[in-house]
């Protein structure tokens, strides 16, 4: 058992802005002058009215407000085991040496060459921490939360040649709209921006004197408006460094009217339900309507919120919910080749005014279609009508679909050939079959509409084509294979929780995001669900807190002008309350011209996450075998390049790698074995395509969980090293490598896969444990399937349940628990994630290292 000294200290910096006068809300119908986006500031400068408030995530109540997130300043409760300890004691459970945390020594430790063949246990027993950039202490305090904004290399190479020599990708991974507990919000009449490159003022600018500042992205000297020095708390003119824009690298502005192309839109939601025979069979409709009824009040929005409902099978059904009617009235449109909207004004209604009618509709909807025998589904026409309906306003469309669309434009055919799955040379049909959905999403994006998909399917539903409608309109895709209210209660639970979160989470409308970087750097490829409107402007009709993006960069000119390279991401959006806001994240990193420093600052998890996205792109443009080879080649090339930096004395036999990249071969092997890339015939086409979409959509932490799940031993949980959270002690078991050599016969293990938790019980686990946790006398009587642990009042059960709850709380989507016995048929679900073992004729970790050694040695 690891003895980890827990180190939970106070946050290093108080992120709260000054409590000040709250800015006036911009709700209500108000017409703004039509200015193009981001013109230079006009109007006389008024005395700046500052309101820095600590704002909880989202201006609306709801379960998300209580979700604990790693705030910027909060340190993780564990220490990073020092790098040297690995070379000395390769034992998995080990003491961490105090020291190395916060000292700059860790940089040298990271370049220490490590023989990966000898040190096989490279996975640390605490969560992997990102490397700390090599910055001066005052800049280090201001560094952006790595969960929000991080790069693959924390020391940026100075020239493109240096980057090419290191053979590592340079990119950024950003999670811009993440739920934050401390977010300084500023309402100021003047938002200070650089005159030429339009960068927002940030903590890393240089003040030339009290009146001028030097932009850190284009090096131009700009004037500082007077009220920037004004401090309303003390009512004096002081140092500009006291402003919240300079004190924190993540900040939100309330945008004045120059930032609006049109008056901020009200929150508008349209729900489209598939009611054909398959859909009604699966029973999703009653679950969805139930959740909607419960969460109707918690939908983000204000008095102007609009809502509408459409159901479809082979015809479209619209519902007139205008206030004043006694009951909702249904109108059927059967001419699907030429859609027209009956009474277009009454289909999207104000939520508050028509609430009783909406509630009545939702209660009746499941029973209305319970006997529906129609099997055709007209999704294409439904989407066209949604576009027509929402064009004037924009908003969010939620589509529930349970079978292949088979009627009208946008019809899809089943492309999955079950007999062909044994062909391991190439996997066909991974791309869209038709561009109907892509065109639809571009049209929606132009009208600020985004489409989210909830797919419930027992059979092939061609996610590759359908997901195009979400990919380019900033939406998200959720897939529940084999959903059935009776047969798969775990999926029902997952859908229910996911849908609840989906309805109540924060949302931003008509958003655009722009990434700016220091002169010399440029972005050349974008990954994520958005439409690239110009070389650095991303159009996002909707932004939600669970979307992550990645960009690859190249160095066009050498970065000689400054020892620091900065990146700024600015997200301009309309909040659900009709306020136009700008969220700005700034990241500052040192520039280096030494190859060894580039390796020392490499962030393995960032690199792996970016590589997985690049591999998905490569799979779609070339073949999956190409993508797999490319992944292995990154490992080989970077390790060969590292060898050249070593002096002849250090390089020896074995596979030498830098300490910072010690996990790269392990993660590469995990990627080769994950659902998206594995060349096995047991992966269905939809599952594979969905896994690839999720690799591109999720922010980095969840893609890492997808690729390399975390494994905890839970048969001997103790309170040692536990953290205290919400008045409960949560035990922190060490993380194990994903290999069966760590699975003791008498142990119970919990695997966290991101979207599911597996509790694996070995045959010889102590009866004491079984009794305390499951309330049954022995192993054989553990019932299956079990998705919830009984709430028993003893310490063992308490600790296990607290730990599971702690894991589940931290993420936005629900991870149902599956209890798997060693002799169960479901054990393959658990065992297939043990990536370090040899499986299905793919190499084990040790064999992979030997293969790498052979290739590197050539």
């Amino acid at each position: 058992m690891a003895n980890l000294t827990s180190m939970s200290g106070p946050p290093t910096q108080d992120m709260q802005g000054r409590g000040g006068v709250g800015g006036g809300g911009l709700t209500g119908k108000r017409a703004y002058p039509q200015y193009p986006n981001q013109t230079p500031m006009s109007g006389p400068p008024l005395p700046g009215q500052m309101a820095g408030q600590p704002q909880p995530a989202g201006s609306q109540p709801g379960p998300t407000a209580g979700v604990p997130n790693d705030t910027y300043g909060q340190q993780r409760p564990q220490q990073i085991p020092n790098a040297q300890s690995y070379a000395q004691s390769p034992n998995q459970y080990e003491n961490s040496l105090s020291g190395g945390m916060g000292k700059l020594n860790i940089q040298q430790g990271d370049t220490r060459p490590l023989n990966l063949l000898q040190n096989r246990h490279v996975l640390p027993s605490t969560p992997v921490e990102p490397p700390k950039p090599n910055l001066s202490p005052e800049y280090r305090k201001l560094v952006c939360n790595p969960d929000i904004f991080r790069t693959t290399l924390t020391s940026i190479p100075q020239t493109q040649q240096l980057l090419n020599k290191s053979k590592l990708p340079l990119g950024i991974l950003i999670h811009p709209f993440k739920d934050l507990t401390h977010l300084p919000v500023i309402q100021s009449s003047v938002i200070v921006r650089c005159r030429s490159c339009r960068t927002y003022i940030n903590p890393f600018v240089q003040f030339v004197d009290h009146r001028r500042w030097k932009c850190n992205l284009c090096y131009r000297i700009n004037d500082l408006p007077d009220e920037f020095n004004f401090d309303p708390v003390t009512r004096t003119y002081g140092e500009p460094q006291r402003r919240p824009e300079i004190k924190s690298s993540t900040i939100e502005f309330i945008a004045p009217s120059e930032y609006m192309l049109r008056p901020p839109q009200p929150a508008t939601y349209l729900f489209m339900f598939d009611v054909c025979f398959n859909a009604v069979e699966s029973g999703y409709l009653s679950v969805a309507c139930q959740v909607l009824l419960e969460e109707l009040d918690k939908l983000p929005g204000d008095a102007r919120t609009m809502i509408g409902f459409v159901t479809f099978d082979s015809t479209l059904h619209f519902y007139n919910l205008q206030e004043g009617l006694s009951r909702p009235s249904m109108m059927v449109v059967s001419d699907i080749d030429d859609i027209f909207l009956p009474c277009p004004n009454d289909l999207l209604v104000n939520l508050q005014e028509s609430k009783e009618l909406i509630q009545e509709l939702l209660t009746q909807l499941p029973s209305m279609f319970s006997g529906n025998k129609e099997t055709q589904s007209a999704l294409g026409p439904a989407l066209q009508s949604a576009l027509k309906l929402m064009s004037p306003i924009g908003g969010r469309v939620t589509v529930f679909q349970s079978s292949l669309p088979s009627h009208g434009p946008g019809t899809l055919k089943s492309r999955e050939d079950m007999s062909q799955r044994t062909n391991s040379k190439d996997i066909p049909n991974l791309g869209p079959a038709t561009d109907f959905y892509k065109k639809m999403s571009l049209d929606c994006s132009a009208q600020q509409i985004s489409v989210d998909l909830f797919l419930f399917a027992n059979n092939y539903i061609d996610i590759a084509s359908l997901s195009c409608v979400s990919k380019f309109s900033g939406g998200c895709v959720n897939y529940y294979p084999a959903f059935h209210t009776v047969r798969t209660p775990a999926e029902v639970e997952r859908f229910e929780n996911d849908f609840r979160r989906y309805l109540t989470r924060k949302i931003g409308f008509e958003a655009v995001m722009r990434i700016r970087c220091t002169k010399g750097l440029s972005i050349h490829t974008f990954h994520g669900n958005f439409f690239v409107r110009s070389t650095d402007l991303l159009s996002l009709p909707n932004i939600n807190p669970d979307a992550g993006f990645a960009m690859q960069m190249s160095i066009e000119d050498s970065l000689n002008d400054s020892p620091l390279a900065c990146f700024q991401a600015a997200l301009l959006y309309t909040s659900s309350k009709g306020e136009r806001r700008i969220r700005v994240h700034t990241l500052c990193l040192p520039v280096t011209n030494q190859l060894s420093e580039v390796y020392a600052g490499a962030d393995t998890q960032g690199i792996v996450s970016l590589l997985s996205r690049m591999a998905v792109d490569r799979t779609l443009t070339a073949t999956i075998v190409d993508a797999r080879d490319a992944l292995v080649n990154v490992c080989i090339d970077s390790l060969s390049a590292f060898k050249t930096t070593l002096s002849s004395g250090q390089a020896g036999v074995g596979l030498i790698g830098p300490n910072s990249l010690r996990l790269l071969p392990l993660y590469t092997l995990a990627m080769l074995k994950c659902t998206a890339f594995k060349l096995s015939s047991s992966v269905r086409l939809d599952e594979r395509v969905f896994a690839m979409d999720m690799l591109k959509y999720h922010p980095m932490i969840y893609t890492m969980l997808m690729i390399h799940p975390t494994l905890y031993p839970v048969h001997e949980l103790s309170d040692e090293g536990a953290i205290s959270h919400d008045d409960q002690t949560i035990p922190q078991p060490p993380i194990l490598s994903l290999s069966s050599e760590h699975l003791f016969k008498n142990g119970a293990y919990l695997m966290d896969r991101g979207d599911a938790l597996y509790l694996y019980i070995n045959r010889e686990v102590s009866p004491n444990f079984i009794q305390s946790v499951f309330d049954v006398p022995d192993f054989q009587s553990i019932g299956e399937p079990m998705h919830e642990l009984p709430e028993l009042d003893n310490a063992v059960s308490d600790r296990l349940r607290n730990f599971i709850q702690y894991l589940e709380e931290k993420r936005p989507f629900h991870a149902p628990l599956h209890v798997i016995r060693e002799d169960s048929r479901m054990r393959i679900l658990f065992l297939r994630h043990l990536v370090e073992d040899r499986s299905e004729s793919v190499m084990s970790y040790y064999e992979f290292l030997q293969h790498l050694q052979k290739e590197v040695g050539k």
């Binding site: 038709t434 561009d435 109907f436 050349h524 974008f526 070389t535 402007l537």
Partner: protein, 146 residues
């Protein structure tokens, strides 16, 4: 000077390659507008896509004419470009209308630079072939008398 069929082909090809030069210039300007954020990718692709097939058809048309006129050298000069065009068109992104450019992928710096390069190379090729057809036409006209 007898006005043979070959001379007529060269004359026609000269005129048509002038048209193709204009197409190539239009492509280059369009991609440059995309790079400098002057235009929306959707609008730009909608204006570029209808020009792709006509360009290929014109090129194939006068190459076939040269085949009939017996000018094998000229045909051999144009065949690689035809092969490349066919390859490009077969591997185009999934779309229901004719065309090569997809607004969602065109803003990738790799794709954009590849298209720019293609535009410049085609411009150079058509310019050179314009002058080649001019000289060949005069040669054919002169040599057909003697």
């Amino acid at each position: 000077m007898a006005f043979t069929f070959a001379a007529f082909c060269y004359l026609l090809a000269m005129i048509l390659s002038a048209v193709l030069i204009f197409f190539a210039i239009y492509h280059i300007i369009a991609f440059d507008e995309l790079k400098t954020d002057y235009k929306n990718p959707i609008d730009q692709c909608n204006s570029l896509n209808p020009l792709v097939l006509p360009e290929y058809i014109i090129h194939i048309f006068f190459t076939v004419l040269f085949l009939f006129a017996g000018q094998i050298g000229t045909v051999a000069l144009n065949v690689p470009l035809i092969a490349y065009n066919v390859y490009r068109y077969v591997n185009r992104p999934v779309m229901s209308q004719p065309g090569l450019y997809d607004p969602t992928t065109i803003m990738n710096a790799d794709v954009l630079s590849r298209c720019m390069r293609e535009g410049w190379i085609k411009l150079a090729f058509f310019l050179l072939s314009f002058f080649y057809y001019l000289y060949s036409m005069i040669y054919v006209l002169v040599s057909s008398t003697s």
